[in-house]
């Protein structure tokens, strides 16, 4: 039955998808085009829609694909499927960490993990910068328009109380008007 299949395929994607939305998109593409469920053209639509709409990219993609294949219940099956492994794994991990937090071994490991995690988030900033105003082929050439939005967002987030959502929406508006 297609709903059960959708659920299982997306549960598998949720279980093997490391590294967040963008890498999960690649896995979704492989799993679904190989099964002949969607074409590459449809996939690029899904990728574009998922990035331009609010919410986690992989949830967006799961909902969209699920709807295309199985209608409303298809989108429910795919979205629940992709979230179920997270639910189990994260709660197990959280229980472990909260239980052993006072243990010196765990606390010293966490002290090593925290700076590393901040580095990953910094790396995400680089990733978004590469996608918008830095060109790897010509690193000295900066796309100044988006760079100004970037600088504006940094200033607004660091020195004003402007809501983060509003900052991103303003950058989006600026992109529409000026790019």
């Amino acid at each position: 039955m297609i709903l059960i299949k959708l659920f299982l395929v997306f549960a598998k994607i949720g279980l093997i998808g490391f590294g967040g939305g963008y890498s999960i998109l690649t896995i979704i593409q492989r799993e679904l085009t190989e099964r002949g469920w969607i074409s590459l053209q449809e996939f690029s639509d899904i990728a574009a829609i998922s990035q331009i709409t609010p919410g986690p990219i992989a949830v967006n993609a799961a909902t969209y694909v699920g709807y295309r294949i199985g209608g409303f219940w298809g989108s429910v099956a795919a979205t629940v499927g992709v979230s179920v492994p997270s639910f189990i794994l994260v709660i197990l991990a959280a229980r472990f960490i909260l239980r052993f937090k006072s243990s010196r071994v765990v606390e010293s490991c966490m002290k090593g993990i925290r700076p590393v995690t901040v580095a990953f988030i910094a790396s995400a900033a680089i990733f978004f910068a590469l996608e918008s105003f830095i060109n790897l082929q010509a690193p000295l050439y900066i796309n100044w328009g988006p760079f100004v939005f970037f600088a504006g967002a940094v200033l607004a987030a660091a020195f004003t109380k402007i809501n983060i959502i509003l900052i991103v929406l303003m950058a989006m508006g600026a992109g529409l008007l000026l790019c």
């Binding site: 490391f18 590294g19 967040g20 939305g21 690029s44 639509d45 574009a48 829609i49 998922s50 331009i52 709409t53 609010p54 919410g55 986690p56 990219i57 992989a58 949830v59 909902t63 969209y64 709807y67 409303f72 979230s83 997270s86 994260v90 709660i91 991990a93 959280a94 909260l98 606390e107 010293s108 490991c109 966490m110 090593g112 993990i113 925290r114 700076p115 590393v116 995690t117 901040v118 580095a119 910094a122 790396s123 995400a124 900033a125 996608e131 939005f149 504006g152 940094v154 987030a157 983060i164 959502i165 900052i167 991103v168 929406l169 303003m170 950058a171 989006m172 600026a174 992109g175 000026l178």
Partner: protein
């Protein structure tokens, strides 16, 4: 005054619903908002614990925003908390995408979509950069942590080493440095 459980769950749900409904650019773009809402404004958990949540979210498979939501929900209000935060993050996307899937059939290659995406990504890069500094201040407290952070940044950005391996390396380094060093120091005291 302590909040009742129901009020707490409702607040968690609404907070994550808002985060899910308004952040464009995917889960990574949500991290700054989660940090500001959950730690800075509502003080549900400390900055260190926010970083723990992000560490768990990134080292496990799955969607980073959902993972962070589940971790924080569980930490603040147990299993019920995890359920409401997960639902909160998922529901807005689900509703919006369903409407789009019903109404439109194709958007890729649309010039306005590309323009909007360029703007969003530049803005998200800026907001994330600021979050890095804020979290870094509370987490990177000594030279050793700074070295770890720089090393991890280089490994993941330019060498493409898997996040899971780097986190395992960070845990090992933390154990060796903070645990063993402290034992030695206690010995000599």
């Amino acid at each position: 005054m302590k909040k009742t459980k129901a009020a707490l769950l409702w607040d968690l749900f609404i907070t994550f619903f808002k985060i899910g409904a308004f952040t464009i650019g995917g889960g990574l773009a949500m991290l700054p908002l989660i940090e500001r809402e959950i730690s800075e404004r509502k003080k549900y958990i400390s900055k260190e614990e926010i970083v723990d949540a992000f560490a768990v979210s990134q080292s496990l498979p799955g969607i980073i925003a959902i993972n962070s939501g589940i971790y924080i929900g569980y930490r603040v209000a147990g299993i019920a908390g995890a359920v409401v935060t997960a639902l909160g993050v998922i529901l807005p996307s689900f509703i919006i995408i369903l409407i789009i899937a019903i109404l439109f059939s194709t958007v890729s290659g649309n010039i306005y979509v590309t323009k909007a995406l360029t703007g969003v990504k530049a803005g998200v890069a800026g907001v994330i950069a600021v979050t890095v500094v804020r979290l870094g201040k509370s987490v990177v407290r000594d030279i050793f942590a700074l070295v770890l952070a720089v090393l991890a940044f280089v490994l993941t950005t330019w060498l493409g080493i898997g996040i899971v391996f780097i986190i395992a390396g960070g845990a090992l380094a933390g154990f060796l440095y903070y645990y063993i060093m402290r034992m030695k120091r206690n010995d000599t005291d």
